[in-house]
């Protein structure tokens, strides 16, 4: 039972001090969660603290490997709109 930080993490440090289990640490490229220490905040908080403050959609995965904050859930930008605009920018 553990969450996972992936490489879209922008190293904002927001999650690290919140973890009740000291499971989060800064690694070479970005922050990581020690799976042996992560408790998914059970017994401490209702919601996983790291995933509740992380500003980057998709940066933190649950134990099934699914994004806890999927595209659009934090920024409010509909994923289709994002794709459209990014394609347009690429074309330039």
């Amino acid at each position: 039972m553990a969450l996972k930080i992936i490489n879209t993490c922008v190293n904002c440090y927001a999650c690290e001090p919140l973890c009740p289990s000291q499971a989060i640490y800064k690694a070479e490229a970005h922050f990581l969660i020690n799976p042996r220490k992560c408790t998914e905040c059970e017994g401490d908080f209702e919601e996983a603290q790291c995933a509740s403050i992380c500003p980057i959609e998709g940066a933190i995965l649950d134990k099934f490997g699914l994004a806890i904050n999927p595209p659009g859930s934090l920024t409010g930008i509909p994923p289709e709109r994002m794709a459209e605009v990014m394609a347009e920018l690429q074309a330039h």
């Binding site: 922008v10 904002c12 440090y13 509740s52 920024t75 930008i77």
Partner: protein, 496 residues
């Protein structure tokens, strides 16, 4: 850690280029003597001081506790920096070392601010450790901090222990319904709270923090981002409320939203205000409040005069090698500060004397005129039209000359309809000058001359190297004499 700098246009080229000194320094007019004494050497608050004094920011605070729709957290806090900028993150020890190195090498540096790259008060340990060390080791440096306000009430006690005389709060609204359109979520009491509920808590904390700071005697400046169609109508009320609670300065900044920044507003096509809209709002608030008109939206690790960035001279690897004797530096700084103050005062007196004379000569009754000026500082007209990265906008009227704002030449892309492929830099520049009737520069080419004239803006290169206010007044008088000011303002043809 080497961080990349994306889209690094802010500041680095600039140099102090605003000039609105002496009699035209309207933004400090309403202040009590006590506050005026506190801010008159502060480069960010006094248009006058920022020719002479410098500030720096250190980036020690990476985390943030809210989301703003104009910010992409891949980059620095957009409340305090232009979007799309990434600063070199420092530990408190590194930041202290850097600050003292800069203070020793640039004695004009009087103010150290922490503004990001996230929210300073969401990183209390780093922020307060930096302040604690500096209050102790470099007591001649003023400290300031900016915040979104969420963690402010919890921080006031600690803030009051350090050498802090200014706090900047970004307040974009006082109505949670408006807030929900600006802030999609906040992190509060161990939960992410979205929508109106989150915005309501944020607004409450901002207002409470403002009141607590004022009660402690700490100066509060309020920043607002003007977002057309979202909070533009609402900001006059914000201005009134923050003023009544004791904020001493209100700074309304334009939203900067570009799709490539990946922000909500950028991607959704929300436009920023036009220069006219911004000016109108600043004017409508200024009856109530000291408005700050020369903010350059500098980055979280900026070093130098406003609008200038000498950060490259003080990267961490260069600083590690510097030996600093701060006691000696402090002696030297004191002498230089006194000399600068003396110079500021004598220039201020000389200028008000000349202007008073100009105005007294013959009392005009003509309408006010906006003029754009190309300058790189020292208070004179000294930039070629084609090289100007920004223009200072002045208003000339029978009352005298008043600094209004600065306009970047590349900032005002208004989105799809105005920013089609074909628009040249020149056309963009002309659009940025909308509302001005004259542009003063040191020189100008033939082609831009023609285009400006066609757009209803008269180029003028006759006052190269002359002091700005005097030249603006002289041109105004010529216009009056030529009968140009009897007519109502000509329709501008530069709307494309």
């Amino acid at each position: 850690m080497e961080l990349p700098v994306l889209n690094d246009q802010p500041a680095s080229k600039g140099g102090c280029s605003a000039s609105s000194c002496g009699t035209t320094d309207d933004q400090l007019d309403h202040l009590t003597d006590e506050i005026r004494a506190k801010v008159q050497n502060h480069p960010c608050y006094s248009e006058d001081a920022h020719h002479y004094f410098a500030r720096m920011h250190v980036a020690v605070a990476p985390a943030c506790n809210i989301q703003c729709h104009y910010c992409n957290r891949k980059y620095d806090c957009a409340n305090e920096s232009r979007p799309g900028v990434v600063s070199e993150l420092l530990t408190p020890d590194q930041a202290v070392k850097k600050t003292m190195a800069v203070a020793a090498n640039i004695p004009q540096m009087t103010v150290l601010g922490i503004a990001g790259p996230g929210d300073p008060l969401a990183n209390p340990e780093q922020t307060f450790e930096t302040f604690r060390q500096l209050s102790q080791d470099a007591p001649d440096i003023k400290l300031c901090v900016s915040t979104n306000g969420l963690a402010l009430p919890a921080s006031v006690e600690e803030l009051s222990k350090h050498n802090i005389d200014h706090v900047t709060i970004t307040i974009n609204c006082v109505d949670p319904e408006v807030g929900a359109k600006i802030y999609p979520w906040i992190f509060w009491e161990n939960r992410r709270i979205k929508g109106i509920e989150g915005a309501k808590i944020l607004i409450e904390q901002q207002q409470k923090g403002l009141e607590m700071l004022v009660a402690k005697g700490i100066l509060v400046k309020v920043n607002s981002v003007m977002i057309p169609g979202v909070n533009d109508k609402h900001l006059a009320e914000v201005s009134r409320i923050v003023k009544s609670k004791g904020a001493f300065l209100h700074n309304v900044m334009p939203l900067i939203a570009e799709a490539e920044h990946g922000t909500f507003y950028g991607v959704m096509g929300q436009r920023g205000p036009t220069p006219d809209e911004l000016m109108e709002l600043q004017d409508s608030c200024s009856g109530d409040m000291n408005m700050m008109r020369h903010c350059r939206q500098c980055r979280a690790d900026a070093v130098g005069m406003l609008g200038e960035d000498r950060g490259d001279e003080f990267t961490m690897d260069k600083i590690e090698d510097m030996e600093i004797d701060y006691q000696a530096a402090m002696e030297k700084r004191k002498v230089i500060h006194q000399a600068i103050e003396a110079e500021m005062n004598s220039k201020r007196e000389a200028k008000s004397a000349t202007l008073a004379k100009q105005v007294a000569e013959e009392k005009l009754t003509t309408r006010p005129v906006l003029m754009a000026v190309a300058t790189s500082g020292q208070g004179v007209i000294n930039v070629h039209f084609g090289h100007a990265k920004e223009f200072l906008i002045y208003e000339a009227s029978p009352e005298g000359v008043r600094f209004i704002s600065h306009r970047k030449t590349d900032l005002y892309c208004g989105g799809d309809e105005t920013c089609g492929d074909g628009e040249s830099v020149l056309q963009q520049t002309i659009r940025a000058l909308a509302g001005c009737e004259t542009v003063l520069c040191s020189k100008i080419g033939y082609e831009p001359w023609e285009m400006l004239e066609q757009a209803g803006i008269m180029p003028n290169g006759e006052h190269a190297m002359e002091p700005i206010e005097e030249a603006v007044m002289a041109v105004y008088k010529e216009m009056a004499k030529a009968g140009k000011l009897d007519e109502i303002k000509p329709e501008q043809r530069a709307t494309a």
